[in-house]
Symmetry: C2
Subunit: 310 residues, 2 copies
């Protein structure tokens, strides 16, 4: 197989079209099915770049001995961190998910606070009113480009925002920032939103003690990685009503198994890792600047840093 | 009855508490039940100010011969316009509903576009994705304080906004404004939001021709007054799928009768005039500035103008 670039994509993925356009005339490219692994008898030694979702790319890493660059089509690259050989650069897809995740977060919060879920199926004149979101407080775990975009959307509705990050540094758009592990961050929060990546430091960031500190009417939203939540503690809080609702888009095991207790936990809303789909245009746009650098033999921008874990 | 101010309120209304605090020591005040009319044998000649919802205030207007000022607790005062004697000033409740109506509009749009209504009751791993609202176009009928607040919220999510008003004057925050009756306003709109007051000029502003011009995936939202929509045309468009969904908070007859065809129209979501509840603090805040002016014998600010109809 004499191809420079391998696109590991699902049949209905639309991003390869734009990436093929981008690479046109510069590098040879092949598209393979993300749900099929490599073929044993095939020689993949010409492959220098792989583009795809980290879980799908993983089986290809060891069969491509001359691999130099993996462009991830996801923000989180934890599925690759333990298997990528030294010298292979991984670039996560960044700065493109803020819009979609802001829509998800504000859509769910407004749906719950303004009783849209109830009213959508109401068959009578239900004139109970509700207070809305003005003056409520949101705590966002993760203050990078996604967290900052979510804070901007929330502020537009008069929601106050505080942030949690690795060293408590202040970030524009957040009234206050706290360091990971400082549980005062959670005190009386109405909304908790995690966009944390999966690292050892983010394991169970939202644990029993954190949950106990929230407002009694709190809503917990996880759109980062499943490891950030102590699932037993959250299910218990949802069951006894000390947390009002949870909207969970990510889990320790995905797809969430049919037998998982979350499916039957009251006020747990399960979505299927759909808070921020990788849209057709995102991947080519993200690769564009680095492609010139790659061809010129320069260092790539926005590469995954193993020492930080993101 | 020797009272200066009559508060016409429902039993569970919370705004009278704050108004009573405001009037304390300056004017004598009585609270009456909005669902009961005046008592025939009682003399209401001392009443100079009435505060309440226009429909509830209406029966009191004729029994208060020395009435000078009606402070409405609603934005729309159409229920009073034909019955208020010359010389009585009506001040609608303004500039307080933008927040609540923005929450309502964006909450419903995001719930529909991000399939939150579906996903809320999903019992399987539904990993279909959706495009979101970036780059969609919203047309707002009415560019006053409410319409402008809605446009600001929509823009935050990358939605482009155009406006419709009485003379087509341009308004900050709208890419273009059109004059009432110019149907190009509706061309290819993804979202139509009416915040129009009830006047002769706003009757059936959203009629068959307007609806035909919308995008095939359009969402129609009415939070102004029911007269703005040609109900037969909208129901027909919802039934044949040429409009994707309608979220209707106001109607020609409220409460919407049980027999109304909207209850059984596909993709019509009915809410009970709850898009912008009058919160506890709103009425006292709105009255505060005018109360000093009233006691000093000055003209009141923000009064209803019969020549405009709002």
């Amino acid at each position: 197989m004499t191809t420079d670039v391998l696109l590991v994509a699902k049949c209905d993925d639309e991003w390869p079209v734009r990436v093929i356009e981008l690479l046109d005339q510069r590098l040879s490219v092949s598209r393979v099915d993300a749900l099929q692994g490599p073929i044993n008898s095939t020689d993949y030694s010409s492959v220098r770049i792989i583009v795809g979702g980290p879980s799908h790319v993983a089986p290809w890493v060891t069969v491509c001995p001359n691999l130099q660059w993996i462009q991830s089509t996801w923000a989180g690259v934890d599925a690759l961190t333990d298997i990528v050989p030294k010298g292979v650069v991984v670039t996560p897809l960044k700065d493109v998910f803020g819009q979609s995740m802001s829509e998800f977060v504000m859509g769910w919060i407004l749906a719950l606070e303004r009783r849209i879920l109830e009213r959508a199926s109401s068959s009578f004149w239900d004139d109970r009113s509700e207070d809305g979101v003005l003056g409520k407080t949101m705590g966002i775990l993760g203050t990078g480009s996604i967290g900052t975009a979510i804070a901007a959307s929330a502020r537009q509705f008069g929601i106050r925002c505080r942030g949690l990050n690795s060293d408590g540094r202040s970030i524009e758009g957040f009234e206050a920032c706290f360091k990971t592990g400082v549980h005062r961050f959670f005190d009386n929060l109405d909304y908790v939103v995690s966009v944390l990546p999966k690292t050892a430091a983010t394991d169970n960031a939202i644990n029993h003690d954190a949950i106990q500190r929230l407002s009694p009417e709190s809503i917990v939203i996880n759109i980062g990685r499943g490891n950030a939540i102590d699932d037993v503690a959250l299910r218990s809080a949802l069951t006894d009503g000390s947390v009002r609702a949870a909207v969970l888009d990510v889990f320790r095991n995905e797809p969430l198994p049919d037998s998982d207790a979350y499916w039957n936990t009251p006020n747990a809303y399960i979505t299927a890792h759909t808070s921020a789909p990788t849209l057709e245009r995102f991947v080519a746009r993200a690769m564009s600047a680095n492609l010139d650098r790659f061809l010129a033999g320069q260092n790539l921008l926005g590469a995954f840093d193993p020492s930080k874990g993101y």
